[in-house]
């Protein structure tokens, strides 16, 4: 299959899926090895993202997703009668922060760090598609585990959790203990 056709097929698949499609699946369907699929995929994403069109292609985790270019958000909302998403509350952002760096985590873990009940925040973040359930912990009560979604990455404008801003968590934690630091 010539390259233009392959790219056309990828466009069609990403468009029809709506959700992110893993590179593996794309490679499978197109009968390509992964490195080749990766190269073609990057190429295609660049082409979309460097044009001024309304559609862009973003990498999310090990998948790729088509979505609209943010600058047209206003027109999309107006045409489709959507309300603008309210900015997230401080509480919601804090919960996301704890989950993002420690996933999968239970609600209890997050509540311990924040010192307050978070059940309402968890359900609203799940409803917004920013958090998702990830099975249960094998402990008494079998509490639910939560993790962040690909939408979370997309809204934050990053492609993987590795791109999260670094935290000084560990260092400070050790310093707080009677560590034998020079300083």
């Amino acid at each position: 299959m010539e390259i233009r056709k392959i790219q056309g097929a990828i466009e069609a698949v990403l468009f029809a899926s709506g959700d992110p499609v893993s590179l593996e699946r794309l490679a499978d369907v197109l009968g390509l090895d992964r490195p080749t699929a990766e190269k073609i995929m990057r190429n295609l994403a660049d082409r979309f993202n460097n044009s001024n069109g309304g559609i862009r292609i973003v990498r999310l985790g090990d998948g790729w997703q088509m979505c609209t270019r943010p600058e047209f958000g206003g027109q999309v909302r107006a045409a489709l009668d959507m309300r603008r998403n309210m900015p997230l509350s401080q509480a919601a952002l804090e919960v996301l922060a704890v989950v993002a760096y420690n996933q999968p985590v239970t609600r209890a873990f997050v509540e311990q760090i924040r010192g307050v009940d978070c059940s309402g925040v968890f359900s609203s973040l799940t409803a917004k598609g920013l958090l998702e359930e990830r099975g249960r912990l094998e402990l008494p009560g079998r509490p639910l585990l939560y993790g962040t979604t690909s939408d979370f990455l997309r809204c934050l404008g990053i492609s993987s959790l590795q791109e999260l801003p670094p935290i000084e968590h560990e260092k400070e934690g050790e310093q707080a203990e009677p560590a034998e630091d020079v300083g």
Binding site: T68, P87, L88, A97, A100, R114, C155, I167
Partner: protein, 245 residues
Amino acid sequence: MEKLCCKLETFEGPLDLLLLLISKNKLNICDVRITDLVDQYVEQIHAMREHKMEVASEFLEMAARLVYIKTVSLLPKPEEAERLQRELTGQLLEYQECRRVAGLFGERFRFDSYSRPPEEIKFDSSYRGHLSPQEIFHAYRSAAGRGKRLLPPKPEAFSGIVSHKIVSVASRMIRVLRGLRRIGAARYEDLYRDCRGRSELVATFLAVLELIRGKRIRVEGENDGMVKLMDGGENKWKSEKFREP
């Protein structure tokens, strides 16, 4: 809680309040003297109550904790006080970091890019997987084997004499395990797919319970449960009272 947020704007919990007090005193958390904060903290809670705001229990719990730390530090056993203080400091540091990152998230979060609903596609249901002739052969023997056992007392022959077909739980256990060993995992509902009549359903359900109790399978997920074979399920199963037919 909500009134509290309105009153003091951005914060939500006792840790928030502590951080606020620390920042007011222009102290570094690492060398904050928690004991100095106790009075201010208790004062704040008083103020809230005077404004007829409901003070959430976690605020009171924190007050109690602080008072405890202060009490202990007055006693001639400083290690305990230090430990408690370190604990609280650690928690505050962790929470402060959480707030810092939350702030970064807040700056970066954008809800202007939209995805689209999946296109509605009618899928071709024809099977494209691979089967091996051996698989078919074994499936045949498995089917024929079972038929021999269940067949002789044909249900119809007993109509009027016995109105219920008896299905043993053991047979369903074997069936569930056999199915799972082949495909590794199955949707919970699929276990019941080939059940005919109530007694088979009940027997299968009991079999599933029995297998879970015996730690041979586990069920994961909430609404759309997946049933999985536990590690070593095969060996245990063979060793115990059920022998593979």
